[in-house]
């Protein structure tokens, strides 16, 4: 009888463990996407909304590709198109911390969405300030929220400056931004970081491990005619919208000499939902805020250490090295085809 009871309890424990671990695996990740929508932002948002691995808790809007007002309008239209007015959409900062905003209609069309006129939104903006909303949600779901900032880091910097404790309370932060092999604005800087270098430096050094999906990897993860044709062969409101903006974006990219359109923001969402889509390496990353040629560059230390230079009379001598703790998992490569197949699969017919 006693043995029977022990067996019974063990079985119960086993079932409980199975259920909880199964639940943990099956439960979608809660994510907040901070975005400046933006063609590739729209693609990233639609990917997230149609991925069972993710539960999009909120979109917070930051000025970048377009100004904050246009960005909020675009975000509301995108969630409305997807029939997802349940998602909280909030505005945020009105301009970068320490410089004027640089918008990118050149790449994204005059409304930021390739000139595609989406139907008026049925959804309403949340009155809260984006960074405050982020603070609130991270405290509401401690260690559960994954932040996916795909614009300049102004909102995230404001949130973590006001409440530094969120750095220890998020599950993850996966940013689209930076590059460790040259920029897409100029020789040094990637656009999101270039648009608010001070905010980026705050975010990289806030005490969390930032997963950095940079432009150099996005530029090796291209949506090409082959994938676009697949998207154009099926239909649905989201499918058709994505096909239209991908077509515009692809044309723009081809005119600038690329063989496809860089999936910058969608890849960040991809890596948030399946980290094996990228190759991640731990490094220490700082953001240059002062350089004439390098302002906005993400400077990555791949060695995990710096030279220790010690003064000896009139000169310094190298005395070994000083260790440098990594603050970022830098994506150095992506499984581009697997990601693009996933992207098309998720969006087709939606």
């Amino acid at each position: 009888m006693k043995q029977f009871r022990v067996l019974f309890i063990l079985t119960l424990v086993f079932v409980f463990v199975c259920m909880t671990s199964g639940f943990a695996q099956g439960a979608p990740k809660r994510v907040i996407i901070d975005t400046d929508p933006g063609t590739d932002d729209a693609m990233a948002i639609i990917l997230a909304l149609n991925s069972p691995e993710l539960h999009v808790e909120a979109l917070t809007v930051v000025p970048g590709n377009v100004d904050g007002r246009q960005g909020l309008e675009n975000a509301l239209k995108i969630v409305s198109l997807a029939g997802r007015c349940d998602i909280t959409v909030a505005g945020g900062a009105q301009h970068p911390l320490n410089q004027k905003l640089i918008t990118a209609q050149f790449w994204h069309g005059k409304n930021g969405l390739a000139g595609v006129e989406l139907p008026p939104t049925k959804c309403k903006a949340d009155p809260r300030f984006g960074p405050d909303l982020i603070i609130e949600m991270v405290h509401k779901y401690p260690h559960e929220i994954t932040l996916i900032p795909v614009g300049p880091l102004t909102n995230i910097a404001l949130a973590v400056s006001k409440d530094p404790s969120i750095a220890g309370l998020v599950k993850d932060i996966v940013i689209m931004g930076g590059s460790i092999t040259g920029g897409n604005v100029n020789g040094a800087a990637e656009a999101n970081i270039y648009n608010d270098p001070e905010a980026a430096q705050i975010v990289f050094n806030a005490g969390w491990m930032v997963t950095m999906v940079g432009s150099d990897v996005g530029e090796r993860t291209l949506i090409t005619r082959k994938y676009l044709t697949q998207l154009q062969s099926t239909h649905g409101p989201q499918n058709d919208f994505i096909a239209k903006i991908a077509d515009f974006y692809l044309n723009r990219s081809e005119k600038s000499g690329y063989s496809g359109a860089a999936m910058y923001d969608p890849l960040a969402v991809g890596i948030a939902l399946d980290a094996t889509l990228g190759t991640l390496k731990e490094m220490h990353v700082d953001v240059e805020t002062k350089g004439e040629f390098t302002r906005g560059e993400t400077v990555a230390n791949r060695m995990g250490s710096s030279e220790n230079n010690v003064l000896h009379g009139d000169h310094y001598e190298i005395e070994g090295t000083v260790g440098l703790k990594p603050n970022a998992r830098v994506c150095v490569a992506s499984d581009a085809d697997r990601f693009l197949q996933l992207f098309v699969e998720r969006v087709r017919g939606k």
Binding site: K100, F129, P131, S161, K162
Partner: protein, 321 residues
Amino acid sequence: MPRTFLIDTDTASDDAVALIMALRAPDVRVAAITTVAGNVNVQQATRNALYTAELCGADVPVYAGAEKPLLRAYTNATWFHGRDGLGDHNYPPPRRFPEKLHAVDAIIDTIEENPGLVIITLAPLTNLALALATKPEIAAKVGRCVVMGGAPCCEGNVTPAAEYNIWVDPEAARMVMLSGLPVELIGWQLSRGEAVVNESDIGIIQRFNTPLARFAIECNSHARHAYKVQTGEDGISLPDPIAMCVALEPSIGTEWSEHYLEVETQSELTRGMTVVDRLNVAGDDRNRAVWELALHADRKAKVCWKIDTKRWKDYLSAALR
């Protein structure tokens, strides 16, 4: 009708005297005190602000704010003010607690509720910068913004170029200076020389024999010593109370001029320098690109160059008597 003040402070010894002056002013209502990391950490600053308010019998709400500068490593000034910021005299803990609301939200709410509000900043500008980033519209609703900070003509008290409040968080200072707020800059140099509360002034204040007079002199004991070491000048130098005095009575400032003002954030040598366009060249071809944000703010800062040191000391005495 009393004027309404909001005071942002990293409460240490000279901040405490400034708080006393405001809380004792008959025609002023201090709607909020907000605290920030600076001279001492934000918890200590909050404690010191609450203690000082208690000494004045004031029940003004105190809101704690930023724990560190926006992107620079935090550096305190306890070498100057003492470990507790008040000269390490073991003052008892305050009886009241800070409010739950964050200082940044308190600043926004207080401005919204009090059009024409006078803001006096005695600290690094982190809180105000965050408030302005949250709601840029508040800048237009502020009546005056008296900033103790900078060294617009000369050497600073941290580096040859910069004064502490600006140096600690230059990015925040720059955000504030370029926000369109009606800034009145009270530089560190105004509290030197003739403005220093000297041996004979200290004697007069001590003979008042009031709790506030005793506290004001005692809590500055460490600062007095540090100031002597730093500058060779004997006495108590009181930058924050001078800014407060100008906030209370603008005519204490006897020489003013209005200029475009920038804050250096790109150089380590001159980090936090307050750069004043005295020859009005910010808009010319050579300078326009660099001064773009200041020109865009479309508002010049009022820079104070000289104060009436006798009247300043009269105001100080009146507050402590």
